[in-house]
């Protein structure tokens, strides 16, 4: 492989967007690291996107601004992009490619790791088993998060997704144990990054956080590497150092846009809304890096944040994400407008790993039935509200009024809680019963007689 290191090429044939084409080269491999030095001596790196007889198409991760056709020097390194990883990365701030931004020297690498990660053999995976108490009732009771899960927050611009993610990061515990955090910011404003950093600092966990920032002013192409670099760090911490890692990635919509940009420049045939057909596989190559591995103690839990363009959950970004992740926490503008925090939508939110991890011997015996009943009653509330909007509330039957009351209480008392308020799971479950007990017992058809006898506290019991 050393043959690569010797050659240096000068001059490019074409530069377009974040891509250049170079000819007259010899034996360059696909998806390999490229080093570029421009006429000013500025150094950047790239990757080969396509290689052919005597030419290569290269994406420049630092962006192509300032590159000229004549005066830059190009080297092909004959290996994929790797980064040095070490435990020392915790407590440090890096750019989207893993270079220090905090004016400290780069941490001494314990290992070099390919940013594309490893394809985990499904037979080597371990099924996620330990629930994470976030202290938020809407999550703990209704959409339980599990260690090793990938659970995105689907949000909209102006909604408090950052506040929620920060609260989860602060409060998340598994039987008292906390997490170390890998935080990746793609194309977000400095304010957003600062919000998280200050939060980490105030709760005194900064030494347990590795930060990767590719902010709005960095070249958009860099965003394509940022989550990969961050996940490479997370994998090292989880699978080599046996840590429990919580990875927060924001904003996945910016990542997807960068991918679309690259695809359009390459003239690829788009699938939907201009996004390339491989967006699904590309996103999967990130999200599937969450999980647990047999015989290893560590885990990677992912909390990606994405803003849905126009609050549209059918947009390809949330849609494809939802097809890959293990559920989704959906934020609802209407709740937020009414001052309800966290505005976690009652119906479209889902945790797919919840089913195997709650109930007798895991959380509490009543948990599965309680959650199912809350969902189904709240769905009925939505129907009645729709009816009330047409016929007027006065026209509703007495039972319907009870449902409306339940709906209000569900939103005001159960969903709603303080930014610093941590409810224990017990408390949240009890609160769930309290509001369910606003409804007559015979309406609670998802719950067994036995369980109702034990937990129902409605009028006809007293």
């Amino acid at each position: 492989m050393s043959e690569y290191d010797l050659r240096e090429y000068q001059g490019l044939e074409e530069v377009v967007g974040p891509i250049f084409i170079i000819r007259g080269i010899h034996s360059v491999g696909y998806n390999q690291l490229v080093e570029i030095t421009d006429s000013e001596g500025r150094y950047r790196i790239g990757l080969t996107l396509e290689v052919g007889q005597g030419y290569a198409v290269v994406q420049v991760l630092g962006g192509t601004a300032g590159l000229s056709l004549g005066n830059c020097r190009v080297r092909f390194r004959g290996r994929p992009l790797t980064i040095g990883v070490s435990e020392e990365m915790l407590g440090r701030v890096f750019n989207g490619l893993g270079e220090p931004l905090d004016n400290l020297p780069a941490p001494l690498a314990e290992e070099m790791a390919d940013v594309n990660g490893l394809t985990i053999n499904p037979t080597a995976r371990d099924y996620p088993r330990n629930i994470i108490e976030t202290g938020l009732s809407a999550i703990d009771v209704m959409n339980t998060l599990v260690r090793g899960q990938k659970l995105p927050i689907f949000s909209g611009s102006g909604l408090p997704h950052n506040t929620i993610a920060a609260q989860i990061a602060r409060q998340a515990r598994v039987r008292g144990e906390s997490f170390c955090i890998v935080f990746a910011a793609m194309g977000v404003k400095y304010d957003t990054a600062r919000f998280f950093l200050r939060g980490f600092e105030e709760s005194g966990v900064l030494e347990r956080v590795a930060v990767f920032l590719s902010l709005a002013d960095s070249p958009s192409i860099e965003r394509l590497m940022t989550p990969r670099v961050a996940l490479t760090c997370a994998e090292f911490l989880a699978f080599r150092k046996n840590m429990h890692v919580l990875v927060i990635m924001t904003d996945m919509a910016n990542y997807c846009e960068a991918l679309r940009e690259l695809s359009t420049i390459r003239g690829e045939i788009p699938a939907r809304k201009g996004y390339p057909g491989y967006l699904y596989s590309d996103l999967a190559s990130l999200y599937e890096r969450a999980g647990m591995v047999k015989d290893l103690a560590g885990s990677i839990t992912q909390l990606p944040i994405l803003t849905m363009p126009n609050d549209d959950i059918t947009h390809p970004i949330p849609d494809l994400t939802g097809f890959i992740t293990e559920g989704q926490i959906v934020l609802e503008r209407e709740l937020s407008v009414r001052g309800i925090y966290p505005p976690i939508a009652g119906l479209p939110s889902l945790s797919r790993l919840m089913k195997d991890n709650i109930g007798k011997g895991l959380t509490r015996e009543d948990h599965p039935a309680l959650a199912a009943q809350l969902f189904s009653c709240y769905a009925h509330v939505k129907d009645i509200r729709a009816l009330a909007a047409i016929v007027g509330e006065e026209e509703l039957a007495p039972l319907d009024h009870l449902y409306l009351q339940f709906g209000e209480s569900f939103e005001r008392d159960f969903l709603c809680q303080g930014v610093d308020q941590r409810r224990s799971l017990e408390e949240s479950l009890d609160l769930g019963w309290e509001i369910l007990s606003l409804l007559p017992r015979e309406e609670l058809v998802r719950i067994s007689e036995e369980m109702l006898g034990k937990y129902y506290r409605g009028k006809d019991e007293r």
Binding site: S27, V51, I120, R125, A271, Y280, E288, A397, E443
Partner: protein, 585 residues
Amino acid sequence: MAEVVGRVYRVSGPVVEVEEAWSLSMLEVVEVGNLHLVGEVVHLKTGHAFVQVYEDTTSLKPGDPVYSNHEPLSVELGPGLLGSIFDGVQRPLQLIREKQGMAIARGIHLPPLERTRRWEFAPVASAGQQAGPGAIIGEVQETGLVRHLIMVPPGLSGRLVWVAPPGDYTVEDKIAVLDTGQGQVPLRLFQRWPVRRSRPYQRKIEPNEPLLTGQRVIDTLFPLAKGGSVAVPGGFGTGKTVVQHQMARWSDADIVVFVGCGERGNEMTDVLLSFPSLVDPRQGRPLMERTILVANTSNMPVAAREASIYTGITLAEYYRDMGYHVALMADSTSRWAEALRELSGRLEEMPLEEGFPAYLPSRLAEFYERAGAVRNLNGRSGSISIIASVSPPGGDFSEPVTAHTKRFIRAFWALDRELANARHYPAISWTESYSEYLEDVQNWWHEKISPEWLSLRYAIMEILQKEQKLMQVVKLIGPDVLPPSQRLILETAELFKNAFLQQNAFEPVDAFTSPKKQLLMLKAIMRFHEKAEMAVKNGLAVSRIRQLPIYQKLLRMKTNYPEDALDRLEEFLKEFETAFQQEEF
């Protein structure tokens, strides 16, 4: 060792262009580069071959050698398939893990079937006999559940000149010799078959037996026949995977082939970890003993995703040839179609709708055509049922994959977002779903369970349809304006949804319901409706119905009467005579 047949010319993701490729033919398997990455020739043009590579192509470069044995992409068929998990091109994932640890490295070449394991072979044919294609030479007890028949491969026939005595053999050992007239052909415990060609059979036969799933909404409302095909479309989180897992667990197929095509790694892990300890409801053996998994999870190479469906169906055909009823689950066929689209894009073919290639419908047709109930070459009959999930973008069923799939299937279980949101599972819509197998399976129900089956089924469907119409009125002006008899329709429909249609896959008693219990439950609900109709006519307020003890009992009959207490359920049916008499109104 394979010979060098060309050199890499260009690499673009999973597609590699090969020059000096004159000796290559379409759909043959090649090995690319120094790592010998496996690929398949998908396009030929003026001395160049385009190869889709089943592994990550990182570091491949122009000039790298390309090798070939000039064979099509094939699978190994023989004892040892059951209980295994393979990747999209039949590499044994368990073995790979034993050899390489947690990650799948590139360029691994391991035979799919273990070479050292010995199987106890019992001959049934003897020397001197004539044996045609599919003829049974002997048997191997592959697992506690399945006897594996060793057959003469399709295309061969002649006179058996030697059959091995009973004993323990490896898959490669010779167990018979066939004199075909053109020479003597050794037969072994395993054979190979190209995945893109369907295995031959005598003829298709009418499917007439239901594939029982234990899922009430399926078996009673929208049944599938053994040998039928069904599509399960739905947006994310509507329950496609759970439906397929439930069928893999509870259906009365002899063999289950589950193809995880571009979906989550953890879902495969879930099956791998749970199936060995779950027992087959009929014979009490671990479910893994009848199950084969083919996994190309979403982070595995996309070209192998395209192949995984063919690998799966070929394995299914092989067991069908033995006379078994095979159920093939493909989760999700949309990911397969998208793989097709991605590869087509890399080949710079002209796209049609949403970037899909023009040959999408014909590929779908070919796949579904491989399902069916058949009379095999050896005279036995077997079947393949296909249960295919479809993942329409944005949950929109008018998109190309769903729309084209509908042309090739006869049952459709449409998953409904609103039902899923309300946690009504399985979220199979009773208005959008259909099954054309209803007539095919009615005799079975009438003979085995009850002659009332079809009429009860139509009666409840009628109530559901009436409810749907009435709800359009209710949504505009509220339920109060409806006369009591119509409000009763709403109540019965609601009861049926809660008591019958809704079925919790994770509640031990509820997860599986036998046909007998399904019929009794349905009967109970219909009898309730009749009696309530009379009572309402006589002045019972509809608003009081939910408070009746009988109503509450009906709601909970799914969990209160386990399969071993069906006699109690029959007793319960008698309560209706008196249930309404005691009411004062």
